[in-house]
Symmetry: C2
Subunit: 324 residues, 2 copies
């Protein structure tokens, strides 16, 4: 089973079982928030982060049961970030994976609190599980997740994103007055100006923090649970960083070329909202080149792993082809 989607599908019930076990029961009081947490956690996510924890940890001989608890914690963090980012005061999204976002389904107060509760629950889980792991490893897990989530990671990326919203639109209008009424997708494919260096730096920073930090935390966490040692963990972190970049470039490309059905949201929404995107700055072809370069760097790092190399390579191939 060396194609990544098959691995992901096969792993998914195991991840969901871990999440079900580690989340409060929907019937436990106060039931409405437990039900809301589960509404968002079991909304059809692909469980990419838990899969990365498992793959990275298994590359170093970690136990899958242990790795699934860490993966579940990261999925809770990821879900927390989606719930809060969807809020009217932030991205104001009505749909997520084709279903009403939590604040549309259960109200804004519940969305704020359920997001808070998921972030907090992740630390409850990381503090307790895996019960067999030495306290030092669990503590290291708490620290690395906290670093990835905080203002030097995911939350910081969201702040930069809010700050720079509108940047690209403004620049595009000024530098491309003749593009007129062409649809954005065609416009991008024709334009091959060198990208503005400041905008590139902003884009890379936003993505490295907003998406990359948690992807990198996933591979790092697998290494910590498996006892990969400092060098092994660092190598996994570098793999995670390249994978994060591949994910983000792919997401940006899909946002341009995908259909509503594939995306579960309106295509082109990010760019139209003035967000910095890879196709917006480098064009579709330039973005694909960037992805290929990241894939090369990632494959070289994967060669050095003690195991699970084929599945990691399959993941890279999957990510590269996703947006092509």
């Amino acid at each position: 089973m060396n194609d990544f989607p098959s691995f992901l599908s096969a792993l998914r019930p195991e991840v969901d079982e871990a999440l079900d076990r580690l989340l409060p029961d929907a019937g436990t009081e106060p039931a409405e928030i437990h039900e809301a947490m589960r509404y968002s956690v079991f909304a059809g996510g692909k469980r990419v982060r838990p899969a990365l924890v498992v793959l990275a940890g298994e590359a170093w001989g970690g136990s899958r049961e242990d790795l699934l608890t860490g993966g579940a914690a990261l999925e809770m963090v990821h879900t927390f970030s989606l719930i809060h980012d969807d809020l009217p005061a932030l991205d104001d999204d009505d749909l997520r994976r084709g279903r009403p976002t939590l604040h549309r389904a259960r109200g804004e107060a519940m969305a704020v609190l359920a997001g808070d509760a998921l972030l907090n629950r992740a630390y409850e889980v990381l503090g307790r599980e895996p019960a067999s792991a030495p306290p030092e490893r669990r503590l290291e897990a708490v620290r690395l997740v906290a670093d990835a989530v905080g203002t030097a990671g995911m939350i910081g990326g969201q702040v930069f994103d809010l700050r720079h919203e509108g940047d690209l639109d403004g620049r595009a209008e000024r530098s491309r007055p003749s593009a007129g009424a062409l649809p954005g997708r065609l416009r991008r494919q024709r334009v091959r100006r060198p990208a503005h260096p400041e905008a590139v730096a902003s884009l890379e920073r936003i993505h490295r923090l907003k998406t990359g930090a948690l992807i990198e935390a996933s591979t790092r966490l697998g290494g910590v649970y498996a006892g990969a040692g400092p060098e092994g963990i660092e190598q996994l972190a570098r793999i995670g960083a390249e994978l994060g970049l591949l994910f983000q470039i792919g997401d940006d490309i899909l946002d341009e070329v995908g259909s509503s059905e594939e995306l579960g949201k309106t295509p082109g929404k990010d760019r139209q909202a003035g967000k910095l995107t890879y196709p917006g700055l480098f064009g579709l072809e330039g973005s694909r080149q960037k992805a290929l370069q990241a894939a090369d760097r990632c494959l070289a790092l994967i060669d050095g792993l003690p195991a699970r190399r084929d599945l990691f390579r399959a993941l890279v191939a999957f990510l590269v082809h996703r947006g092509s």
Copy 2:
């Protein structure tokens, strides 16, 4: 220095120094969120939770420097909860300690994110500090705070609070048709019906979770850092639970009888918003009786502490007299 307000005033600069050291610099990027976090953390809070961590830990010979890091983490958690509770979708408060709430001052998006970042920063701190503490103690700290904050603690209390909002108003109108236009304060003092048992259970549950859980976590955390052992920690937790009750009864009484200046908010707001309060259910005199009973239980527990008994007693006296 055996009166509690003097102790609190003397300790405050030390707590603020720890907070300043453990929060990201306001000048570090992304600066706007660090500045927002500091706006709310340094908004004039009394630092009661850090003081409790210090008192409880010093009762068992803990180091003040260590205890201050845990106290600072709990103050971050407390501030996170205030920021999110103040949001328009929740309590919709414009003022907090006489200053604009964070969402009024910096916008709702920043209030959501700064609250998230403060909760997360607390776990960053608890995972790292005190650096000299054995990993087991730091891990125990993460777990006990996570339990106190989650849906079986503070966040759960907020959910129950939202659920029961309006309960009291409805009941009061039905059972007291002749009270007419008397101001709430006078009305309460005259009415001495037995309180509705379901409403009492709800009130006690809301307060035990929403306020009590974090107060109890404060004394418990001091015991963990000081290595008080399971029995010592349990005794501190019971003291914390009684103190939490005293705080809440006092807050409810002050909400009825305090002036705007003392409160930094509109008096009677909680009761008028239909929230369950002690004076609303037991009258002012009945509430004071409840406080005296909790004080007696608390003083008996304090007698068993190895040190810091006088300051704990002074705290009890302070809390009892606050609402009288």
